[in-house]
Symmetry: C2
Subunit: 213 residues, 2 copies
Amino acid sequence: MEEDNTEELIFKSATNVFLEKGFDGAKMQEIADNAGINKSLLHYYYRSKEKLFDMVFTQIMNQFFNRIDIIWESDVSVIEKISIFIDNYIDFLMKNPFIPRFIINTIARSHQNAGSVIQQKTGGILDKIRNKFLKLQTQIDSEAAAGKIKQVDAQDLIINTISLMVFPFVAESMIKLIFAISDKEYKNFLLKRKETIKSVVLNNLLINEGTVK
Amino acid sequence: MEEDNTEELIFKSATNVFLEKGFDGAKMQEIADNAGINKSLLHYYYRSKEKLFDMVFTQIMNQFFNRIDIIWESDVSVIEKISIFIDNYIDFLMKNPFIPRFIINTIARSHQNAGSVIQQKTGGILDKIRNKFLKLQTQIDSEAAAGKIKQVDAQDLIINTISLMVFPFVAESMIKLIFAISDKEYKNFLLKRKETIKSVVLNNLLINEGTVK
DNA sequence: GTCTATATGGCGATAGAC
DNA sequence: GTCTATCGCCATATAGAC
């Protein structure tokens, strides 16, 4: 499945370099060096830097949002859904710490230039996510009416949860600087995050305080 | 005080352009155009792009963290401190929405190259902030011992609060895309954030649930 | 398909007239 | 101090040999 032919090598190298440095910061020479191949081959396979970047970006967007989409598939209670979401999402971020910053910066950048070309590139995946979130509100309404959880706004709940999870990855360098935390200590901090975030988020859903460990 | 001489004009324009596009994305020509002056004057006043950027970055860092530092001056309870912090910080972010992303990206970028040159550039302001946070832990311990609030980790509390506040600004373009929110709707969302965040954060400090509106 | 050599353009930076 | 003209470099991109 994973053929390490030249085309693949280039794509993987480009993904790594673009993820770390973004479009402007990345250099074709570095991508070539990292892949261990000649620079001119980049153009042979992908014509231009922009086309190569577009393909990398599209692939990352799909990978990222498909992952989110899958997490929400299970047919369980709101509390459990959020719990599963946090567990899976943090795991994913630990393995792919650069993805959120890359996506945020790229969208912000393209927002200045073109409009919503991104919608097209990412196909229907964003619509699917949006649908899941709408369904969550329905489920919240239903469980709240049954007295199981508090009535809350689904969008706020999701954005709060994502904020708590993603920000420590996006702003890692800044947080480490401010608090004078070493790499090792930060790793430990992130490992504890799952429980920290669950505690914060679920406390705001639960009617009887203290029932969540 | 605010002389609109050439040097000032350049610095203001550079600040705007660097804030939006970062070091790599910004072009000297654009900074000059934006300031309405000739490109060569940039070099006359600031010698190089890097020197100009460094001055802008240092100024923004100081402005940003001094603001944070001042917010924590007041001699009130933990709950009130957090409340004041949220109110003031969101106000600041509404007026300076690009600052966090700029700082995060710049530090992340410089982390790849040089080490902690930033520490020097920003002088003692980071140490001051760190001190404030340490004092907060002492205050939490004391109030928790008196049964006023729950015993929590100050660092977690601060990072949670900042995550909830900053992420919607850093990731604005992405969130708007995912949720298909218009600029106007997003503005409304941000305006409600103060209360939303207070509710989330303070609920985790209060011993008796339901006492915070 | 893969390499070397080279074209092309953009951008930071400087020289020099005024 | 401010402008025009230009240098020199670096990065993207192409031509052409193998």
